[in-house]
């Protein structure tokens, strides 16, 4: 045999001759047939693996790695077959069987074959999820898979048509499979595969490629949008008349955009939107037009929703690129009676957004196959909404939250829910509007430890909306981080209260002016901070009169989550005082404020003797200084 091999490789017509022989009677010669470039060996497993090398079996993550073996007691032909022991669904070592068979070495030239074929039988009648080839855990360029093969208890032949064999000139991924127990109530079973090989059957015909499962689909998006085409198949008619659908990797297709200035498509079927306008995405496979068309309307530039500013430590995010999201069941439950289309299917420059269309009501759910949300420590819910259509005065979007109670299931008498309605006048067509609701304002929501749904209801008054940044968050009553450390040189600063500078000596931070305010100093993240509890008013007597005419600004860092009114005053002898209103509350953490000293006119800046705050709530202050 060996001698024969080396002689034959020098003969020009060797390939044709050997294939002729191989397809007729003598299997062994083809096993040995190795061309100078890439092997066109047909056999993958006959009575043992053929030409796969030593390290060829690569299980899928989560599958039982020991599922595959060679069984010398079962064979369709010859002496052995491949045995696959599909584990029970609760097997701790992997709850399904699945792997690729990748040549440990150079790939094969399969361009003269039209199918991967094998014989299979199982220990019981089962439906096996996937059989295929072309997966190599490298680029996975030419994966082709048949789904849901019905396998009985006697040997039957399976044919996996090759979508376009001319692509397979050095293929390493010769076989792949995935088999679970979804159809057997979790009970494991065994199946055997024998005579696994590539063949030129000549009876596979009528190839019909498809994109989007042969349908026509239209969507709106924006510049920067990225869409990946799916539903890539090719249907063949087999020699026995069977219609066989093959799920096909995008690399088999050539994609075309009718307006490349609007969007381009790469070889992976990834569409990138680059301009405004409309384009049709179509495809060909091996010269045949694929059924199906994706029409994309780009609305032009996209303005993302404001980037959330809550500290991630205080957030439970359902849908935001700014945070790690919880696992959800879906962003659209397609509930009965709901007309709503769309889910998390728009991706603009890496920013996922939801576009709900034909919205009447829709549910985001996280309780079916994923844990509910324990929002016990959360205080607020945030959502960004951009309406894409004209808004009438009676239009509304009602945001509902559903808690399913301590029993962690619907019913049982412990469910509760509440909702808040946003009127049309609070929404703007074509612009993002951010909403921050207190959870306590969701009347009726008795519990928040087992939240399972966010529901949007418009009763079709508003039907086309973009949604982003749905998250629960906690507004802590005290800052968790220190105020930003000042960076100005001390020579440019007159400091009243800061760890970063030498403060004016002799300053009294709590003079007795008859105030109710309780003044304390707290160390927050190692930084001394001034805290006013129960503010009504509060003075600061500066240790000596300060001439700040050489300065330009008063700097104040402040933090409050519950104040609704806060003013800062400078006072000069007279007294002459002037208030400056500070925006409250500071929901997003410390606010660093630079107040131009001119704002305090007519206070005499050459003679600043006191400061004062008035308002309400609990206020944290730090880094009070004049600077230039």
């Amino acid at each position: 045999m060996k001698t024969k091999k080396y002689i034959y490789t020098k003969i020009t017509f060797f390939l044709g001759l050997i294939l002729l022989t191989a397809s007729s009677c003598d299997r062994e010669i083809s096993d040995e047939a190795v061309l100078a470039t890439f092997s066109s060996t047909a056999d993958v497993f006959i009575d043992s693996p053929v030409g796969l090398g030593s390290n060829f079996y690569f299980p899928y993550g989560g599958s039982k790695p020991t599922a595959w073996s060679v069984d010398e007691k079962e064979a369709y032909e010859g002496t052995a077959s491949m045995r696959f022991d599909v584990p029970n669904g609760d097997d701790p070592n992997g709850n399904f069987a699945g792997a690729i068979f990748r040549i440990d070495g150079a790939g094969r030239d399969l361009s003269n074959y039209d199918a991967l074929t094998f014989w299979v039988k199982a220990s019981q009648g089962v439906t096996i999820g996937e059989f295929g080839f072309g997966e190599d855990f490298l680029e996975n360029k030419y994966v082709a898979t048949i789904q849901n093969t019905s396998v009985g208890t006697s040997w039957q032949k399976v044919i996996i048509p090759i979508p376009d064999a001319s692509r397979l000139t050095q293929e390493r991924g010769l076989f792949r499979y995935s088999a679970g127990t979804q159809g057997t109530n979790g009970s494991g079973y065994t199946f055997w595969v024998d005579e696994l090989k590539f063949e030129k059957l000549g009876t596979i015909a009528q190839p019909r490629p498809q994109i989007i499962d042969g349908t026509e689909k239209s969507e709106q998006t924006f510049i920067g949008g990225v869409i990946t085409l799916d539903g890539l198949n090719q249907i063949f008619n087999l020699g026995d008349g069977t219609e066989q659908k093959v799920t096909v990797a995008p690399n088999y297709f050539n994609f075309t955009s009718s307006s490349p200035s609007v969007a381009t498509v790469d070889e992976k079927g990834k569409i990138t939107v680059t301009g405004a306008g409309t384009t049709d995405i179509t495809a060909q496979l091996n010269g045949l037009d694929a059924q199906g068309k994706y029409t994309l309307e780009s609305l032009g530039d996209f303005t993302p929703a404001p980037t959330p500013t809550q500290n991630a430590a205080n957030v439970i995010s359902v849908f935001s690129d700014a945070y790690t999201n919880i696992a959800v069941d879906h962003y659209n439950g397609y509930w009965g009676g709901s007309t709503t289309q769309g889910q998390n299917d728009i991706n603009i420059n890496g920013n996922e957004i939801i576009n709900y269309k034909a919205l009447n009501y829709v549910g985001v759910e996280f309780h079916i196959n994923v844990p509910t949300v324990n929002a016990s420590s959360m205080t607020n819910f945030h959502i960004d909404i951009q309406v894409q259509e004209d808004i009438g005065p009676g239009d509304f979007i009602r945001i509902g939250l559903q808690d399913i109670g301590a029993d962690d299931t619907f019913g049982g008498g412990d469910d509760s829910n509440g909702s808040i309605s946003i009127g049309g006048s609070n929404l703007t067509k074509g612009s993002w509007v951010s909403f921050d609701f207190k959870l306590s304002d969701f009347n009726g929501l008795a519990n928040k430890a087992n939240l399972g749904q966010i529901v949007l209801v418009t009763d079709a008054t508003i039907q086309d909306v973009l949604v982003d940044n749905m998250y629960f968050y906690e507004i802590p009553t005290a800052p968790s981080v220190a105020a930003p450390t000042p960076t100005l040189p001390a020579s440019d600063v007159i400091s009243i209260f800061s760890d970063a500078y030498t403060n004016v000596a002799g300053t009294n931070l709590n003079p007795g002016w008859g105030q109710a305010t309780v003044v304390t100093q707290e160390t927050i993240a190692g930084n001394n901070t001034l805290k006013y509890t129960g503010l009504n008013y509060q003075g600061i007597e500066i240790g000596s009169a300060q001439d700040v005419t050489g300065m330009t600004h008063l700097h104040i860092d402040y933090f409050t989550t519950n104040s609704t009114s806060l003013n800062a005053f400078l006072i000069s002898t007279g007294p002459v005082e002037k208030a400056k209103a500070l925006a409250v509350p500071t929901n997003s953490g410390w606010v660093s404020l630079e107040i131009p000293l001119a704002d305090f006119s007519p206070v005499n800046l050459a003679d600043i003797i006191q400061m004062k705050f008035d308002g309400n709530g609990t206020i944290f202050l730090d880094n009070i200084y004049f600077h230039k």
């Binding site: 044709g16 397809s23 000549g202 009876t203 015909a205 008619n237 008349g241």
Partner: protein, 281 residues
């Protein structure tokens, strides 16, 4: 042998395919004498674009009701029309096309042409080069019926010779049959022929018979696959193929007793393409 087109196509094949052909011949064991009659006496080469040549062909129109056999006697689903969307000559070929459409009360349309009243003969070699359609429920045929002596003799006594019948759901198999008194309908004298590593819907194949006194030989391409003689008939049945003149029929039925009806995934339109029909003595 006179396989002009066959030889032409061979020239286009690679040496590899040539080797396969040699091999498959070899597998059959012996060299066959497939045909013996070579004097061309009638032909339609379908060289003139448009409707079929009215000097050679006539139409059957309708769903069979007007002929007294609704569903053409087989529960067929099509309405036969002579519209170009059902039958046309173009590019040197006859195209008979079955469409899924509502027309004259039927859900499918197709076409059927006959040489009845225009050409008929006894004995000879009848062959056609055809590319067949595919899909469940498609039933194309190339066949012949015996003259009915102005309606005085009825089927199956007139005799029927089916040179090619094909089920779209079995794209590798053709059937050759005769029907006569005592061997008609579901019990004809028949044999199937299956292609190896090939199918009937991806390229043209030659379907033919050579018919003489007390025999009908069936062939596909260069393979003689059956001979039917009076000895094959049921005990006491009459051989009705030695006296009558027969005319030629080309049609494509949709659904019916011979096969299943089309399914929702049967692809329409489907076309049977005929390169030529020839009769030799």
């Amino acid at each position: 042998m006179n396989f002009i087109n066959k030889n032409k196509s061979k020239l286009r094949l690679s040496i590899f395919a040539f080797a396969i052909i040699l091999f498959s011949n070899c597998e059959n064991g012996e060299t066959q004498t497939v045909t013996t009659k070579s004097e061309l006496v009638w032909a339609d080469e379908f060289e003139t674009d448009g409707a079929p040549d009215s000097n050679k062909w006539t139409f059957d129109i309708g769903d069979g009701t007007a002929q007294g056999i609704p569903g053409w006697g087989n529960n067929e689903l099509q309405y036969y029309s002579d519209r170009p969307e059902n039958i046309v000559v173009k590019n040197g070929m006859l195209h008979i096309t079955a469409n899924r459409e509502t027309f004259m009360g039927s859900n499918y349309t197709s076409a059927k042409i006959l040489t009845k009243g225009l050409y008929g003969t006894k004995y000879g070699r009848f062959e056609a080069r055809i590319k067949l359609p595919w899909g469940k429920g498609l039933w194309p045929a190339f066949w012949m019926l015996g003259d009915d002596s102005n309606g005085t003799v009825t089927w199956p006594n007139i005799g029927e010779i089916d040179i090619m019948e094909y089920r779209g759901q079995q794209p590798t198999i053709t059937h050759g049959s005769v029907h006569g008194p005592g061997y008609s309908g579901a019990t004809p004298i028949t044999k199937s022929y299956e292609l190896t590593n090939d199918r009937f819907d991806t390229d043209f194949h030659i379907f033919g018979i050579e018919w003489g006194e007390n025999y009908i030989n069936y062939y596909v391409d260069d393979v003689l696959y059956n001979q039917i003689t009076p000895a094959d008939l049921p005990e006491g049945a009459n051989w009705v193929f030695n006296s009558n003149q027969f005319y030629i029929i080309l049609n494509m039925a949709v659904g019916g007793n011979f096969l299943e009806n089309p399914g929702s995934n049967t692809v329409f339109p489907q076309t049977m393409i005929v390169d030529y029909v020839r009769v030799y003595k």
